[in-house]
Symmetry: C2
Subunit: 310 residues, 2 copies
């Protein structure tokens, strides 16, 4: 691969930025990768594991001279960060973010972007339940979608260059407008996370069923929900606070739908349940055919212990 | 291993029974494994792949002379099946089932059990989203829990023998009473499945977000829910119809809890959300420490395509 940006500055060194650091190096997409994290502990770990060429104590220092700046912090922190670094951005530089919500990020960041800088909001649909500078790995974006939501009047050459970087890390890139992004993500990510958090919370509160029972017998389905309910609390708090309208819209639909199924259970309407459960299988097949999940049983989970009884 | 039952009859040759067939042979727990399935196609596949020593066209024939009979059919089919095979059970035989609901199964089966036969209801907390006679594999029960719910006056020696069989297939065995089982499973399995089915249904019905978008961008969390929402529709219909009271109880709690979070989103109460999301992480850690899931990021899913951009 060829170098696409000479210097890339990663602000916030969590799962996404640390994966980018690994991928940019592995695929030779940047000549230099520098970074900043607010926490001294995170900066120390990043230096210790050699995540970046240089780690700076402030974001303002980190972005100086960078050809691409990537804000990879919780959505609620983007505005203040943009205000801090705006005056230090190199003329002609591109700045993007990786936030899971785009409307609120654009609103918070755009006022701080100087003329002559290309602000192109983005969102890689990739992640795991782990967080922090040690959680990254170069293949995180492989065959995942990276959505870009360029604003009106965005420079096509700057967008194409950022797209090439994402593709260089293995991602597929789509462009869409900011509001549509936030609605699509409310359906495919934000509301699923909220109901997973809720179900885990219900299990945790039950008095007649102990937590140890919930944990022991989780293989019946519950454990699948707990993975996404273990994601970073600050990131998710900000997602729900900033994509409020779309999430409340989808939650309303979810509740309606749940009440219809609940009524079918109460009334003993087996035909309704059967027809509903049959339809949902097709969606799973589509996801597997689209290469967005594995067809292996149980996600291809590996058994935890050595074979017993064998 | 030593043979625990001379002849085992598996009635219904889906995921659970076909996994038992593989495991019983691999671990040498039965001298003979015979089977029956209602569908001629399933019987033909079972014979074709050599799943059992013999496959019978009727359940009544299959159970004759069997030391252990395992009913592995949807919960709603247990009663009629018990009525059919009751007169053909060998005196002193043990009969168990693998249904996900125990109260309704006991109610449906018990009246048909002849004196001198040991009826010991059971439920392996193991499965995948796949079904049918080809979906089984010997390690399905490895380090999974197998719950037995012996009735009042059950013969301790017969229970111990069935327990030894389950343990021989790699499972951990717990005993609990029927009603408690149904409540625990409503929390850890039945309600999680219902909310997963619901969320997948909502995504499928959206008009402003296309199904292809839902599928493409599912890696943000949605795909985790689709796995359990792809499970066998008949089995799950029966679960909800027969564990109605416990499921409606847990659903009521779930909805209350969801409304509290929904209100926090609407009111912008970030502290509440953050505290809630922090608590749910502990449950996930417990599941991993208990060996009921993998700590590998993303369930250890393997990337679908070869590395791109590398």
């Amino acid at each position: 691969m060829t170098v696409i940006y000479n210097r890339v500055a990663l602000i916030g060194l969590g799962l996404i930025a640390s994966s980018m650091a690994h991928a940019l190096r592995q695929f030779g997409l940047a000549a230099e990768v520098v970074g900043h994290a607010r926490s001294a502990e995170t900066r120390a770990i990043a230096m210790d594991i050699g995540l970046c060429d240089r780690v700076y104590a402030t974001a303002a220092e980190a972005v100086q001279g960078a050809d691409l700046v990537v804000l990879a912090v919780p959505v609620g922190a983007m505005g203040d960060l943009a205000a801090e670094i705006g005056p230090h951005l190199k003329p002609g530089a591109t700045i993007t973010d990786v936030g899971s919500v785009k409307g609120a990020v654009v609103e918070a960041m755009a006022p701080h972007m100087p003329a002559g800088v290309h602000f192109i909001p983005g969102h890689p649909i990739a992640g795991t339940e782990h967080s922090g500078p040690r959680s990254g790995f170069a293949s995180l974006f492989n065959n995942r979608w990276w959505l870009l939501t360029p604003l009106d009047g965005a420079d096509p050459a700057a967008v194409a260059r950022l797209r090439a970087l994402c593709e260089g890390m293995g991602a597929n890139v789509d462009e869409m407008d900011v509001a549509h992004h936030d609605l699509v993500l409310a359906v495919t990510s934000h509301t699923p996370h909220l109901i997973a958090y809720t179900m885990v919370g219900v299990a945790d509160h039950m008095r007649r069923v102990s937590n140890s029972e919930v944990i022991k017998y989780s293989a019946g389905g519950f454990r699948d929900l707990t993975r996404i309910a273990a994601s970073d609390p600050v990131m998710w708090r900000d997602v729900f606070l900033t994509n409020k309208d779309a999430v409340l819209d989808i939650l309303g639909r979810f509740t309606e739908e749940l009440f219809v199924l609940q009524r079918a259970i109460r009334m003993g309407d087996g035909e309704h349940l059967h027809a509903y459960f049959t339809r949902t299988r097709a969606i799973r097949r589509g996801i597997i055919e689209a290469g967005q999940d594995t067809a292996a049983p149980d996600f291809g989970r590996v058994a935890q212990n050595g074979a017993k009884g064998g």
